[in-house]
């Protein structure tokens, strides 16, 4: 990294980069949400099931988001963990009309929270209770109860209703996430370089080889 890059980082001229993982079961609307967040001229017309993952980038008022939009299909869920280590925040999308598979979502969430790369980090987690436009959808409160979100004590989390097709509720969630990333001093941001990472590790009492 050049000196100019660092300088612009200190002066706040350059936007901070943040890596976000977008997770959730298949058909919960992850790709649609990310698609809505992108600038309108680059949006896709039709959304197909993701195989593997997609990388998308978009800006908010003060951050440059790089989102890893992972596939939610059962056979690809074990591939999520390859991307845990370097993420700064997690967006977890839930299909709030799918009562039946809420337990599956909870199971995946628990596995995620217990993973060694996630457990010791204070990553902000944003939940979208998606598909609010559907008749039989549950409220965000009900969803958070079913997922036992109140048990998450060591990470800042937030749940909001959303309708990804219309884009409702997405901005609210993103604003929260942005605020958290800014306030959360321990989250390593792109331009900080090595010192930031070392600090993070000494806090979580884990030695990682860098």
């Amino acid at each position: 990294m050049g000196l100019l890059d660092k300088l612009s980082g200190w002066l706040g001229l350059r936007k901070k980069e943040v890596n976000v993982l977008c997770l959730g079961l298949d058909n919960s609307g992850k790709t649609t949400i990310i698609n809505q967040l992108k600038p309108s001229n680059t949006q896709e017309q039709e959304i197909v099931p993701t195989i593997g993952f997609n990388i998308e980038k978009f800006k908010s008022s003060s951050l440059l988001f790089t989102v890893f939009d992972m596939s939610g299909q059962n056979r690809y869920r074990n591939l999520w963990e390859h991307y845990y280590k370097e993420s700064h925040a997690i967006i977890f999308v839930v299909d709030s009309s799918d009562k039946l598979r809420m337990v599956v979502a909870k199971e995946e969430l628990d596995t995620l929270l217990n993973h060694e790369d996630i457990r010791c980090k204070k990553l902000p987690m944003l939940f979208f209770a998606n598909k609010m436009d559907l008749q039989d959808s549950m409220s965000s409160i009900r969803v958070s109860q079913m997922l036992c979100l109140e048990n998450i004590k060591d990470k800042p989390w937030h749940i909001c209703d959303s309708n990804a097709i219309k884009g409702e509720g997405l901005q609210e969630g993103l604003d929260w996430l942005q605020g958290e990333v800014f306030n959360n001093k321990t989250v390593t941001l792109g331009y900080k370089g090595r010192e930031g990472q070392v600090k993070l590790c000494s806090e979580c009492q884990f030695t990682h080889a860098y």
Binding site: G52, N54, S71, Y76, E86
Partner: protein, 679 residues
């Protein structure tokens, strides 16, 4: 900035390979920077290059480390650097088979392949097809169909070539893309048209009727691409060959019409196809040969080479047609391109008259040291053919060959020369002595064991019958003292043959294999029994070699009082003449090609594996299998009768032809029918 970096690198490296001393573990360690944000494209590019370099050097990557590196690499998709992205495609293709879960990049590649950036689309398709298996192919089928008919040529070509690769894996899916490929075949781009034709042909190649139809269609409508024309010519000549159609068929007319094409490549392809066809009449051949003749005087070296190479190949088949080009070939002898000159001379040797041989040989020996081994072999083969044609010229040839034998050269080259000399000796008794002398000289300093043993065997066979056998004994004796065991064994065998003919020789040696053989022959010689000599030394073994091997093995396993009986070994079924050629390798006790064991040997082995049959002694004879049931029944039973000295064993082979049933508890209850007293 990149330029500056390159310059510095050049100066410090002074032309040597900058990747020479790469360590796999160090490179994989470096690959961790893929995980850093933001991405540094230049550094990542360099590391990816190192990884690909290592992979191509044959470095083995374990699944875990490969997968780890692969997943780190997938993060690079967030960079928009074009070079880096294309390097990622290359890495994906290289690691497709060694890393797990490569399927993870499917969506990213699909996005690139349908995206706006044309530079990404073609390579993304190629990478995608490498990581896709049959089950996943359905998911991307729609995109592939679109890509095949894409208006950007590179995209369309990539899709077509990738489809061609997929045909091997999932023929049924790719078959559904025929309409798209058909459309691409009418493209204006020469490469797209060629690739489309290739795909269409490979989809139909098992259906001769469909291929004929396709050929008719394209030969009528005409194509733009010369590559596609060449392909059509090849398909057409293959079809002609398969159907054995006469030369009045429209396909032949098509090939002939291609001789008048504007493009040289097409003209050459057509000429070469006609010349290589079996049973062509002189009239059909003439236009093709005259085209090749024209190419011989072309200013383009590639065309001259192609023409003279083709003429060289068919020189023996159509000597009269090729003789017509002799004048042009003479001009090529002094061509600055050595390959062309060599081929021209060897062609002339094949077709030329006896009088010109001396001149040509002189010409070729002036630059034989400058050409590569591959062409030297061509020269040797030409000489070999020439010797059969003009046996009287053998002294010139022999001189030339011995000179070549003295030069440096690889195994194939030397073997060609040795074979050539041996064949001359066999056909030409006059040349025997000079030939053997040259070969003797050769084995004095020969690094190829196989050739040395071969020559020693020949010396053993021919040497004793020459007027002065003692001349060769010195050479053979040198081998016995100096060489590796295989050669020594062969040398001793050869010496024994001399000894059997001339009684005045005696030897003592000290090494395992060599000593055993030496004592064996010593014993035989001491007994001075001409009959025995004849049996053991000249006739070789008349028993089947696997059988002998097995019996000897058995004999050493359970040692008994009585000596090993050669007669218990089943007699060989192979004819004696063939057996003779096997003696030399046997003498070295290193069988280069294993003899297929006879049927009886197989049975004996099978029976020996059954514990109840072990006390029965050697198998005397096994009958041919006799079918006891009809061939189409549910259970096919056949019987083989094995005769031992005191026992008879019936082997019932019961084959279950039903898929969903299991045969259990089979019993055989033989009923002995009353035997007529006369038997």
């Amino acid at each position: 900035m990149i330029k500056k970096f390159d310059k510095k690198d050049e100066e410090s490296g002074s032309g040597s390979n900058p990747f020479q001393h790469l360590e796999k573990s160090a490179v994989l360690q470096e690959a961790r920077i893929f995980n850093e944000t933001p991405i540094n494209p230049r550094r990542c590019l360099h590391i990816l290059t190192k990884i690909i370099y290592l992979l191509n050097q044959g470095e083995h990557f374990g699944t875990t480390e490969a997968t780890e590196a692969f997943f780190a690499m997938t993060r690079l998709f967030q960079s928009n650097d074009q070079t880096l992205r294309r390097m990622c495609y290359l890495t994906i293709k290289e690691m497709a088979n060694i890393s797990e879960d490569v399927i993870i990049v499917t969506s990213s590649l699909t996005k690139d392949m349908t995206g706006k950036e044309d530079v990404y689309r073609g390579p993304a398709i190629r990478a995608l097809c490498r990581i896709t298996d049959t089950t996943m192919l359905q998911a991307i089928e729609r995109y592939m169909k679109q890509a095949i008919v894409d208006k950007v040529p590179s995209v369309s070509s990539s899709a077509l070539v990738s489809s061609l690769h997929m045909v091997k894996m999932s023929y049924d899916v790719v078959k559904r893309w025929v309409n798209e490929a058909q459309e691409a075949a009418s493209s204006d781009n020469i490469m797209v048209q060629y690739h489309a034709l290739g795909l269409l042909y490979h989809l139909r190649k098992n259906d001769r009727l469909a291929v004929t139809k396709m050929l008719n269609k394209f030969t009528k409508s005409g194509l733009k691409s010369p590559f596609a024309y060449c392909m059509l010519i090849r398909i057409a000549s293959k079809l002609l060959d398969e159907t054995e159609a006469g030369h009045d068929s429209p396909l032949f007319d098509f090939i002939e019409s291609c001789l008048r094409n504007k493009n040289e490549m097409v003209v050459y392809e057509a000429a070469s196809a006609i010349v290589h066809m079996p049973n062509c009449t002189a009239r059909e051949l003439a236009p093709a040969v005259s085209v090749l003749q024209l190419f011989c005087s072309s200013p383009k070296a590639a065309l001259r080479y192609a023409a003279v190479r083709t003429l060289n190949k068919v020189a023996m088949k159509h000597p009269s047609a090729v003789t017509a080009c002799n004048l042009d070939l003479e001009n090529l002898i002094t061509d600055s391109n050595r390959s062309i000159a060599t081929l021209a001379i060897t062609t002339l040797l094949k077709t030329g008259s006896e009088s010109s041989v001396d001149r040509l040989m002189k010409q070729i020996s002036s630059f034989v040291s400058e050409i590569s081994d591959e062409f030297k072999v061509v020269v040797v083969q030409a000489i070999s053919a020439l010797c059969q044609k003009y046996p009287r010229k053998h002294s010139v040839m022999m001189n030339f060959l011995s000179n070549m034998l003295r030069d440096d050269g690889g195994f194939d080259y030397k073997r060609a020369i040795v074979d050539c000399i041996i064949s001359i000796i066999e056909e030409n008794p006059e040349s025997k002595e000079t030939g053997l002398a040259h070969l003797c000289e050769f084995i004095e300093d020969c690094e190829h064991t196989v050739l040395a043993t071969k020559i020693l065997h020949l010396l053993g066979k021919e040497g004793p019958r020459t007027p002065q056998p003692s001349k060769y004994i010195r050479f053979i004796f040198n081998r016995v003292v100096l060489e590796s065991e295989a050669v020594r064994a062969a040398a001793v065998s050869a010496l024994a043959k001399f000894g059997a003919q001339n009684d005045d020789l005696c030897f003592a040696f000290l090494d395992d294999e060599v000593r055993d053989r030496a004592t064996f022959y010593m014993n035989v010689l001491q007994q001075k029994q001409k009959a025995l000599n004849a049996a053991y030394i000249f006739n070789g073994l008349s028993v089947s070699i696997p059988g002998l091997e097995k019996s000897l093995h058995q004999y050493t396993l359970d040692p008994s009082e009585k000596p090993f009986d050669m007669k218990s070994v089943p007699l060989a079924t192979t004819p004696i003449t063939e057996q003779k050629t096997e003696i030399a390798p046997v003498a070295t006790s290193k069988l280069p090609e294993k003899l297929a064991p006879s049927r009886q040997d197989i049975y004996q082995e099978q029976l020996a594996a059954v514990p109840e049959f072990q006390g029965l002694g050697p198998l005397f004879k096994s009958s041919e299998p006799v079918q006891l049931t009809e061939a189409e029944t549910e259970y096919v039973v056949r019987c083989i009768k094995h005769t031992f000295a005191r026992h008879m064993v019936f082997q019932f082979d019961c084959t279950n032809t039903l898929n969903d049933q299991l045969l259990q508890k089979l019993t055989a209850s033989p009923t002995v029918s009353p035997v007529p007293a006369t038997l």
